[in-house]
C-alpha cells in the first residue's frame, strides 16, 4: 500500500482538484483507492457528494477502529472510497502510522471489510506550520501542484528548505505544474527555469489551465466524467501513470 500526500503550502493551486481527479484516475486504472479528505477548506468529499460524518469529529475517534472503518463511504465509482472526515493532525499521525503498520488493528479491520487499499490519497491542508512532519515521513510521495509563477516558485523553494531543515528525503517530493497556460510567456519561462533547477523533482505531465476545473463544483464529479474536452482528463490519467511508475 502506498500513501500519496497531495500538498501545497500555497492556496489556490488546484490541490484538491488534483487529489480528486488523481484518485479517480488511479481507480479507473484498477487501483483500489481511499481518498481522505483532511483539508477543512478542501472539498474532496463535496466533489463526490459524500456528506461529512458528524461522528468523526470525536477526539477519541482513532482509538476506535470499528468506527473508523464505518466512516468510510463508497464513491459512485468502482474501487474508489472516500473518508470524508475532517480530522486533527494529531489523529492523522496516528492514522498514518497505523496504515503503514501491516499488523495494526486498523489494517486488519480494513482488510476484514475488503478495504485493503493499494493507494491512499490524502488531500492535505495547506498550512505548513501545523503540518506534522510525520505526515511527510509516512507518505511515500508528496505530490505538490505548482502554478508556474514567481510566487509559486518561492513557495516551492520554502518547501524544499523545510524538507532539508527537517532531514526529510526530498526525493519524496513529486512536483507538477498545474493550471499552466502555454500562451503565457511567464508560465513558459518559469517552467523552463524550475525544471532546470529541480528537474528530478518535477513530473513530466503538465496540468493545463481549464475552466473544466471550476465546473467540477457544479457537476460535483471528477473532470473525466463530464468534461467535453478530453485534454484535462487525459492529463490526470498520465499523472496517475507517472505517479504509479515513481512509487
Amino acid at each position: 500500500m502506498k500513501i500519496i500526500a497531495c500538498y501545497s503550502n500555497k492556496g489556490g493551486v488546484g490541490k484538491t482538484a488534483t487529489a480528486v481527479n488523481l484518485a479517480h484516475a488511479l481507480a479507473a486504472r484498477g487501483q483500489r483507492v481511499l481518498l481522505c479528505d483532511l483539508d477543512p477548506q478542501g472539498a474532496s468529499g463535496f466533489y463526490f457528494r459524500v456528506k461529512p460524518s458528524k461522528k468523526l469529529k470525536d477526539a477519541r475517534f482513532f482509538q476506535d477502529v470499528a468506527r473508523f472503518t464505518a466512516a468510510i463511504r463508497a464513491s459512485d465509482f468502482d474501487r474508489l472510497d472516500i473518508l470524508p472526515a475532517n480530522m486533527s493532525f494529531r489523529d492523522f499521525d496516528v492514522f498514518l502510522s497505523r496504515m503503514k503498520n501491516r499488523r495494526s488493528r486498523l489494517k486488519q479491520a480494513l482488510a476484514s471489510v475488503g478495504g485493503d487499499y493499494d493507494v491512499i490519497v490524502l488531500d492535505c491542508p495547506p498550512n505548513i506550520s501545523t503540518l506534522s512532519e510525520n505526515v511527510f515521513r509516512a507518505a511515500d510521495a508528496v505530490l505538490v501542484p505548482v502554478i508556474p509563477t514567481t510566487l509559486s516558485e518561492r513557495s516551492f523553494d520554502q518547501l524544499l528548505a523545510f524538507f532539508r531543515d527537517h532531514g526529510l528525503p526530498r526525493k519524496k517530493i513529486l512536483a507538477l505544474f498545474s493550471m499552466a497556460q502555454g500562451a503565457k510567456r511567464l508560465h513558459g519561462e518559469t517552467m523552463q527555469r524550475m525544471r532546470a533547477a529541480q528537474g528530478k523533482r518535477f513530473l513530466d505531465v503538465v496540468l493545463p489551465f481549464s475552466t473544466e476545473i471550476e465546473k467540477m463544483g457544479q457537476h460535483r464529479a471528477p473532470v473525466a466524467t463530464f468534461a467535453r474536452s478530453r485534454a484535462l482528463a487525459e492529463a490526470y490519467d498520465r499523472l496517475a501513470q507517472e505517479v504509479l511508475a515513481r512509487l
Partner: protein
Amino acid sequence: MNTESGPLFIVAGDLRGLLADAAPGKRRLVAAGPGATVSFALCDTFDGEIALTGRLLLCCDGRLDLIGPDGCEASQPGMPPGFLPEMPGGAVTDALSGIVSPLRRVLELGSGQLLHQRFALLDDEEKTRARCDLTVLEPDSDRAVTLVRLEPLRGYRRDCDRLVSHLRGIVGAAPLGARATAARLFPDAAGYDPKPAVPFAPDESVFKATGDVIAAHLPVARANEPGILADLDSEFLHDYRVALRKIRSVLSLFWGVYTPKETEKLKARFAALMAETGRLRDLDVYLIERDHYLRMVPEGLRPGLDLLFDGFARDRAAAHRRLTRHLRSAGYGKEMDRLSRLFAKPGKHLAKGSEADRPVRDYARALIWARYRKVRKIAASIDATTPDERVHALRIQCKKLRYLMEFFAPLYGEKPMKRLIRSLKILQENLGAFNDSVVQQEALENVLSDRAGKQGAQQLEIARSLGALLTVLHQRQTAERARVMATFAAFDVPATRAGFRALFAAEGGR
C-alpha cells in the same frame, strides 16, 4: 472494494416496470445505464440436481453462469454442458462436480430472453447510496421471473437494507427458491420429483393411503419415458425402475389392502412392466462400472476386459432398441393408461382386503415394528460362519424395512424418522456392497459360460481377464461379509433401539 457481494433474491414477474422511479423514503430509484437483452437457456439435470442446491445454471452469450444465493458464483465460456466429465475445465465445471452426478446429463430445460438493467438509489444530492441489478428471465411474458441482486456500497448499509424491504414490499410475495424459479420458467421440464411426497392423515384408511402412494409413483415412471427413449442418460431408466419397484413393494408389503387375488393380479402386471427393462439396466450397470472394473485388474489383463465391454456396448444398443419398441407399442401405452385410471379411483375398481379400512397410522406402526423385529432376529443369528443366504435374507429385510419407513415417514415427523433411516442406511450400504459383489460375480460367470463354446485368441483373452476380475470381486465379497456383524452392532445401539421403540412399538410394547 466499494461493492460487497450482496444478497440475491428471485421474484415472480418482471420487476423493472414496478421499480422505475419508485421512491423509498427520500431517495430516488433510477435506471443506471442502458439495459441489455440477450437470449438465455436454463440448464439442469432432469431431476434438478443444481436447483436442489439453491442454484441456477444459465447459458447465455456463449457463457455458463452458475447463480447462487449470493449472486454469480462461477462463470466460464462454453455451450450447454452435457455430462460433467465431458465438460471443459473451468470454474463452473469445478463447482458442479460436487453437485451433479457424473451419470446425469445436464440438459437445456428451456430458453428465452434475458433482460438486464441496473438501478441506482440516489439521495437528495444525487449520490448513489445503493445499486441493484435486475436480471429478468422471460421464456414468455406470462412466466417471467426477476433475479434481484443488491450491491450495497460501503458506508451505506442502511440504505441497502431499506431498499431490500422496499422491494419486498413492492413484490408482496415471498421470494422464490431455485426449484420454484425453474418450475415457474419451464413447468414442463423442471417439475420432476423422483420422490413425490404423499401426505397421509393418520386416521385415513390404509386402502386410501396405498392407492395414493401408487398413484403418485406411476407418473414418476411415466415422466422418465421420454428420457429413456431419447437415451439422454442411464438414470432415466433407473428412476423408471425405482418407481415401479416401489409400487411393487407397496403391493407386497402392504398385505391385506386388496384381496389376495387382486394383489396377485396387480403384482403380475407391474412385474411384467419391469421385466422388459431388466436387460438394458444390467448392461447400463456394466458400462457405468467399466472404468471401475478396469482399475480392479492388472494392466496386462485390461485389453481383454475392453473387448468384453465393447461387446456389452453393442448389446446395449440392441437392448435399447428393443425397449424403445416396447415403450412405443400400443399395448404398453394402453396398459399404463389403464393402471393410471385404476389408481385414480381405486375405490371404484379394486376389491378391498381384510385390512383395507384400518387407520393408516396404526397399520404402518405394526408393519414397521414387525419388520424391525425380524431384522434384529436375523441379524442376531449371524456370526462369522453363517451361510451367505442368511446375510442375503438380512439385506432383503432391511430393504423392506427401509421402504416401509420411507413410505410412512410423513406420519412420524421428519426428524426422528430421518435419524433412524440414516442409521439403517449405513447397515444397508455394507449389505449392498456385499450383495453387489455377489451379483456381479454371478453375472460375469454367466457371461463366461455363455462364451464357453466360442473359440479363438480373443475369447481366451476375455476369459483370462474375467477370471482376474472375479477374483477381485470375490475378495471384496469376503471383506464386506466380514464387516456385517460390526455394522449391525453399530446399528443396534440402545439409542436406535429406543428410537424404533418410541415410534413404532405398541402401547406397553415389547
